[in-house]
């Protein structure tokens, strides 16, 4: 599917897992089969929808859930928590990922605004998953001590494997 590394059809499929997060969920720096959503699918046998977005934020996680959760209604929603110092904005029909790289819309990165936004997004994500009776698990997983991916910036396959195992414990 465009912009996602998701291989599954979007349809009602409660016996599934939705994975959201940033480039670390998308799998920048690793192959598709090495991403934590792909490894989780392999180890659980449940279809895992990879809705990771490079540059994504908690705002993005909510937006993606708002788009896909009503259709799929997965029993599990697993969030790989992105940096809180990022935002997302819809601007003339496009999703703008805002972070340290941005020249525009940096008003949204004010420290107090960021602090409030984290709580707001987490509450919003909690409510949308609650509405669909999905079990919500959020993990903020450090990549220190793991290898790097092929871009020498994002985490490598061992990090993805470890995170996949962490999420699997929640099932």
């Amino acid at each position: 599917m465009t912009d996602f590394r998701n291989t599954h059809t979007i349809e009602h499929n409660p016996d599934s897992i939705i994975a959201v997060g940033c480039s670390c969920t998308y799998g920048t720096g690793v192959d598709t089969h090495e991403t934590w959503p792909a490894q989780l699918e392999l180890s659980t046998g449940l279809p895992v929808y990879n809705f990771g977005v490079p540059g994504g934020s908690l705002d993005t996680c909510y937006r993606v859930l708002d788009t896909f959760l009503p259709a799929i209604q997965s029993r599990y929603v697993f969030v790989q928590k992105p940096s809180i110092n990022r935002r997302e904005l819809i601007h003339f029909g496009e999703y703008m990922q805002i972070g340290h790289w941005s020249k525009q819309f940096t008003e949204l990165l004010d420290p107090l605004e960021i602090e409030l936004n984290e709580r707001r997004q987490l509450h919003a994500i909690d409510n949308i998953t609650n509405r669909y009776n999905s079990k919500l698990v959020i993990i903020d997983f450090d990549s220190d001590g793991y290898t790097k991916g092929t871009d020498n910036s994002h985490p490598g396959p061992d990090w993805h494997k470890a995170l996949s195992n962490k999420f699997k414990e929640s099932i």
Partner: protein, 200 residues
């Protein structure tokens, strides 16, 4: 009594047997005296403390922010949220103090048609998603504190109410600013809320 830019007449403290009202200027009571605004009248009718945490120029964003600040302290069992479903937003600028109408020396910027520098936050698609996001966030934070959430949505309330009995501002007098509703509307809203949500 004006406290911290709110029309609060109670101390902010743990008080679960109370009601929080979080809305925009109409609920703050712009155009009427404090003792004439509907949250004050509701308190008189029910004999339950009402915290009026409404903000002039406020948006659905403001509604969540106010609950995030005060609900953990007061932990009211009833929350009446009035998310203004109009093209408004709020963001924080921690380096500045803004004077937004009656809101003085605030770091909270109320954004609307009057804010040329922040029109990017008022993109129609962005607004539509934002309303859903904030409403979800408001529902979650009230559930976290075991509070009952009552959503009053003025532009649609009149249509949603099968009796069409929600007081429509056009049927009432204007306040002293000749724009916001006058005292008779506030009396009617207090009566409506009491009748529909408090079985009194």
């Amino acid at each position: 009594m004006e406290k911290n830019n709110f029309r609060l007449w109670h101390s902010v403290e743990y008080n679960p047997d109370s009601i929080i009202v979080a809305g925009p200027s109409t609920d703050y009571g712009i155009g009427v005296e404090m003792h004439e605004c509907w949250p004050y009248l509701l308190e008189q009718m029910l004999d339950i403390p009402v915290y009026n945490l409404s903000v002039p120029g406020g948006s659905v964003d403001t509604c969540y922010r106010v609950l995030d600040t005060f609900l953990p302290i007061i932990q009211s069992k009833k929350i009446i949220a009035i998310p203004a479903l109009v093209a408004r937003r709020e963001i924080i600028n921690s380096h500045a103090k803004f004077n937004n109408g009656p809101v003085r020396n605030s770091i909270y910027i109320q954004i609307g048609s009057w804010s040329p520098d922040y029109q990017f936050l008022l993109d129609p698609e962005e607004l539509e998603l934002n309303v859903k996001r904030q409403r979800d966030a408001i529902a979650s934070i009230t559930r976290e504190y075991n509070s009952e959430l009552i959503l009053l949505e003025y532009p649609t309330q009149w249509l949603l109410d099968p009796e069409h009995s929600f007081p429509h501002v056009h049927d009432y007098s204007k306040g002293t600013d000749n724009m916001h509703p006058g005292p008779d509307w506030h009396i009617a809203v207090a009566e409506y809320v009491r009748k529909h949500y408090f079985n009194d």
